[in-house]
């Protein structure tokens, strides 16, 4: 365990220095835009650490909204005829600067699906393995943050390689993994501090931040209830009434990973894409027979909450598929609040 002190005047210089070995990704606000989004930072662009709460979660770093899986041609004149070619993509080391701790923890939940002993999604896994997550602890959690109830939290280290804590004139960087250590060295940040004192300081900040989180959920009863009891509960119609069945909640969620496979063909060649999809859309479950097992809104709304708060919990016995970032609640056009739904399911 070690803690490094990074003077804020050395911050930009260190980031630039690290570019010799890493691509940098971070929240960045383009000119004229209302909010920052996670993107690969061009030279001279600094991650925006003032607005840590990005509207769109950083899941797209590893799981882009659209990704070409392979290209093909059936043109016999081509030497690639009838081959499925995975496109070249840059999987060189990438440092994700300023990710929120719970957003990094969300990758661990998604990993349970994309990286299993039986199946390994190469696109997700390769992108994930290229990343070093330099997280920024949240000193001031917002009102919809309920991350302390989900095994995560504003200082959660589980998904991070380094945890940065903003101490006003400097950052304390708690080194969590060797990957994180390597990044700090590449940036030239090596000023060690007294570990015990620094950890104590960080823990104090952590406690202060966690106390500020007033939003709580619990799912202890959900665990005990049977699937059918919850599935047939009488509150779903009421929960679903306001829902307009858009994809805001699923697309902004850092743990939602549903996707659709699409082919786009032009003459003899084409591409196969993996695109974000969501359980809120009727087309998501529309069978080629014409039948739709989730044909009406209430079924789709129920599916979203049952998957996050019950099926996942039962399947992996490792908590719910939610890190408590609050985006779905904050940006739902009609104010459907997962905290309330969880309360109903748990009561």
């Amino acid at each position: 365990m070690k803690v490094i002190k990074i003077d804020k005047k050395d911050w930009v210089g260190g980031l630039e220095k690290s570019r010799s070995a890493y691509r940098l990704v971070g929240p960045f606000k383009e000119n004229g835009k209302q909010f920052p989004v996670f993107k690969e930072l061009d030279k001279g662009q600094e991650p925006d650490l003032t607005t840590l709460n990005t509207v769109i979660s950083p899941k797209s770093i590893v799981f882009p909204q659209s990704e070409v899986m392979f290209e093909y041609t059936t043109d016999e004149k081509s030497e690639d005829c009838n081959l499925l070619k995975r496109p070249e993509k840059n999987y060189s080391p990438c440092a994700v600067i300023g990710i929120r701790p719970y957003d990094a923890a969300a990758f661990l939940l998604v990993q349970k699906n994309f990286d299993t002993p039986d199946y390994r999604d190469p696109y997700w896994c390769d992108a994930y393995e290229a990343c070093t997550f330099i997280g920024m602890a949240i000193n001031n959690p917002d009102n919809t943050d309920f991350s302390t109830s989900t095994k995560s939290g504003p200082f959660d280290e589980s998904g991070l390689d380094v945890l940065l804590v903003d101490m006003k004139d400097h950052f304390l960087a708690k080194v969590i993994t060797d990957k994180g250590d390597a990044y700090l060295k590449a940036a030239g940040w090596t000023a060690k501090v007294d570990t015990d004192a620094a950890i104590k300081q960080i823990d104090e900040m952590k406690n202060k931040a966690e106390v500020k989180i007033a939003s709580k959920i619990s799912f202890d009863n959900i665990e005990k209830k049977s699937i059918m009891e919850l599935y047939e509960a009488d509150f779903w119609e009421d929960v679903a009434f306001a829902c307009i069945n858009c994809g805001t909640c699923t697309y902004l969620c850092p743990t939602c990973w549903c996707f659709d496979i699409q082919d786009e063909n032009h003459g003899k060649s084409g591409k196969r894409f993996k695109n974000w999809d969501g359980c809120m859309f009727p087309l998501f479950t529309h069978h080629s027979s014409g039948h739709n097992p989730r044909g009406i809104k209430v079924m789709r709304v129920r599916q979203r909450f049952m998957h996050k708060l019950k099926y996942f919990l039962d399947k992996y016995e490792d908590g719910i598929m939610c890190v408590g970032c609050g985006r779905c609640t904050r940006f739902c056009p009609v104010n459907i609040d997962i905290r309330n739904v969880c309360k109903l399911m748990n009561s």
């Binding site: 909204q65 659209s66 994809g247 805001t248 695109n275 859309f281 609640t329």
Partner: protein, 314 residues
């Protein structure tokens, strides 16, 4: 508008108790500042849930589509115009409805207010045309008229156009230039216009919140969801994103009431009303038409009149 709540509850309770309706569609208090949640009330005791303030921007006509019950619906100006459009388009019958009209003084622009303050807004209250915004270490009082949703600040039909009950006296309508910004874009050279729209849609994530919040978008299968044949690609290709927005806007021509639900619903703050308002302006200039004002007149795009403009035929 806060004073409307008691009257809304009283009318709603009466309608349910007298069995004139099976349900009331209105708003209940949200869990976040500047948010209320559309809700359904079926029993007299539940009318206490109903609220009304300047955060009721979602268009409730959206919740009427193809319903079979007898419904009491709370309707501000734009909702009432979409109810008219729904009736004309056979999505609901007039006889099914008891329309509880709410003269409206505009809804608060939550996107704009959120971006005005660095800290998080914890509480927003309103009184006498003023809005008080409170956060952890700030408090500010703003005039409500200065922070209205953009569609509300240029609204010229604040009063419901059709109603069975009215919760207050009618409010004075605004005398405003509705299309100043549209004219600015019309005047741009092509390239600038292209860049403007390109930039406008650059943050779109195709969540379809705009489409789904819109009372006009009730097609059983939207053209973007059609898979046999598939008309539009589903990736984040900008051509497909543009196709979605352009076509959706055209489907709303002569029908859009500029209720602003699309813009309000958008999680990434796209001003997609720039498309629909251009079409609205054209309909007004060419056919003297404003959508949803009358139950007795067919919209210009589903009728033919010999005097219809035909200058576009060369």
């Amino acid at each position: 508008m806060l004073g409307y709540i008691d009257k809304i509850r009283q009318i709603s309770k009466g309608l349910i108790e007298d069995k004139k309706v099976d349900m009331i569609i209105g708003f209940k208090k949200g869990t976040m500042p500047m948010m209320n949640e559309p809700c359904l009330v079926k029993s007299p005791k539940d009318v206490e849930k109903l609220v009304w303030d300047s955060n009721c921007g979602i268009n409730l006509a959206n919740y009427l589509t193809d319903r079979k019950e007898r419904i009491g619906i709370i309707a501000k100006g734009c909702d009432s115009r979409n109810i008219v459009t729904h009736i004309i388009e056979n999505k609901i019958k007039r006889e099914q409805l008891v329309i509880i009209g709410v003269p409206c003084t505009g809804m608060i622009d939550k996107h704009r207010l959120t971006s005005m303050f660095e800290g998080e807004i914890e509480q927003v209250t309103e009184q006498n045309g003023n809005i008080t915004i409170k956060g952890e270490d700030f408090e500010e009082i703003l005039k409500k008229n200065d922070v209205l949703q953009q569609n509300c600040s240029v609204c010229i039909h604040r009063n419901p156009v059709v109603y069975d009950e009215l919760v207050s006296d009618l409010v004075e309508e605004q005398d405003v230039d509705r299309y100043e910004d549209v004219r600015k874009i019309e005047a741009m050279p092509s390239e600038k216009k292209w860049n403007y729209f390109d930039d406008l849609l650059s943050t779109c994530i195709r969540c379809y919140a705009c489409r789904n919040a819109c009372p006009l978008c009730y097609c059983p299968t939207c053209f973007v969801d059609e898979s046999r044949p598939q008309w539009v690609g589903k990736s984040d290709d900008s051509i497909d994103i543009r196709t979605f927005h352009f076509l959706r806007a055209y489907h709303c021509a002569g029908r859009c009431t500029d209720c602003g639900a699309c813009e309000r619903a958008c999680p990434v703050g796209i001003n997609m009303r720039m498309f629909t308002r251009k079409l609205e302006k054209d309909c007004f200039e060419q056919y003297g038409w404003e959508a949803g004002l009358s139950l007795d007149e067919r919209p210009p795009l589903d009728t033919y009149k010999p005097e219809d403009p035909d200058d576009f035929i060369k």
